[in-house]
Amino acid sequence: MVKAESSRGGFVDVEVIGIAEARRFLNAKGKDIQNAVEGAIFQSANFVQQEVQESLLGRRAEPKSVDTGKLVNSIRVDKINSDTFVVFPQKQSYPNGQSTQEVAKILEYGTTKISPRRHFRNTSKRTKDKTKNFVEKAIKRATRS
C-alpha cells in the first residue's frame, strides 16, 4: 500500500495487488523462460544460416555465388554464449590459397572487379522480423504452460 499526498491536500491511497504472486510466478517460470529464449535464439541462428546458404545458391534476391560449393557448405552456426550465436563461413582453403572467409568478404563487399553481393547483410535484414517472432512465441509458450 502506497500513501501519497495529492495536490488538493487530501490523500491518495494506491494499492498494487498481485506483486507477491507476480514475483512467485517469475521465480517459478524464470528458468523455463530462459531455456525457451535460448532455444529460440538457436532456432533463429539455424534459420539465418539456411537463409545465407539459400542466398549464396541464388534463391534469394542476390546473384548466385557458387563455383566449387566450398563457401556455401562452409556456413556454420557457433554458440558464443547463451544468447549469442554467430553465423559465419568456417575457414577452409581453396587450391589458390585463398580462404572461404576471404572469399566471403570479397563477395559481400565487392572489389574493383566485382560488384558487392551482400549475402550476409541482406539476409540479416530479411530475417529480422522472423527471428523476433521465434523469440516472442517461445516466451509466450513458456509463460502459458
Binding site: 585463398q98 568478404k105 570479397i106 563487399y109 565487392g110 572489389t111 574493383t112 560488384s115 547483410r121 535484414k125
Partner: protein, 152 residues
C-alpha cells in the same frame, strides 16, 4: 539541410561534400578533373586512392506517436576507402573516422546536427585486400544517422 523528400540523397551528398573538403587527397596535384570523393563505385578507370559514399539501403520507418505523421528512420551510409597500399588505407580510414566523429555538434552548416541528421554510429569497418602486388586495399565503413521524416 537534409529534406524529408530527398533525405537519402541529401545525406549522401552532404557526407560526400564534407569529406571532400576535410580529407587530404594524397594525389591532389595529379588528380585533375577526376573527383577524390565519389557517390558511386567507379565504372571507368580512376586514379587511386578514392573514397566512395553510398547509401547502404534498408531503411525502416518507425512511428513517432499516435496521430502523428512524423516518422523516424536510420540512414545507413557506406563510406569506402580505396587505396594503393595498406598504409594509405589506414591513414585515410583514420582521417574519415575522425572527420565524421568531430562534426556531430554545433559546427554551423558543416555539422550534422545543423543538417537535422543525428545519432552518428559506426556499425563496422571491414578491410578488403585484393590479391597481387598492385591489388587495391580497401576499407568498408558502415555508419548510420537518424533522421525524423516530416519535420523539414
Amino acid at each position: 539541410m537534409v529534406s524529408s523528400s530527398t533525405y537519402i540523397s541529401d545525406t549522401v551528398l552532404f557526407i560526400r561534400d564534407f569529406l571532400d573538403s576535410n580529407i587530404t587527397d594524397p594525389i591532389e596535384k595529379k588528380r585533375g578533373k577526376d573527383r577524390f570523393v565519389k557517390t558511386s563505385y567507379p565504372q571507368e578507370k580512376v586514379q587511386y586512392p578514392i573514397i566512395t559514399v553510398r547509401s547502404a539501403g534498408g531503411n525502416d520507418l518507425k512511428r513517432m506517436g499516435m496521430q502523428s505523421e512524423l516518422m523516424w528512420t536510420q540512414i545507413p551510409i557506406e563510406v569506402r576507402i580505396w587505396a594503393r597500399n595498406e598504409k594509405e588505407r589506414n591513414e585515410l580510414t583514420e582521417q574519415v573516422h575522425n572527420a565524421l566523429r568531430s562534426n556531430q555538434f554545433g559546427g554551423g552548416d558543416a555539422s550534422v546536427d545543423d543538417n537535422d541528421i543525428h545519432d552518428f554510429r559506426v556499425l563496422s569497418t571491414v578491410s578488403i585486400d585484393e590479391t597481387g602486388v598492385t591489388g587495391i586495399k580497401s576499407s568498408v565503413m558502415e555508419c548510420q544517422y537518424m533522421f525524423v521524416l516530416g519535420q523539414s
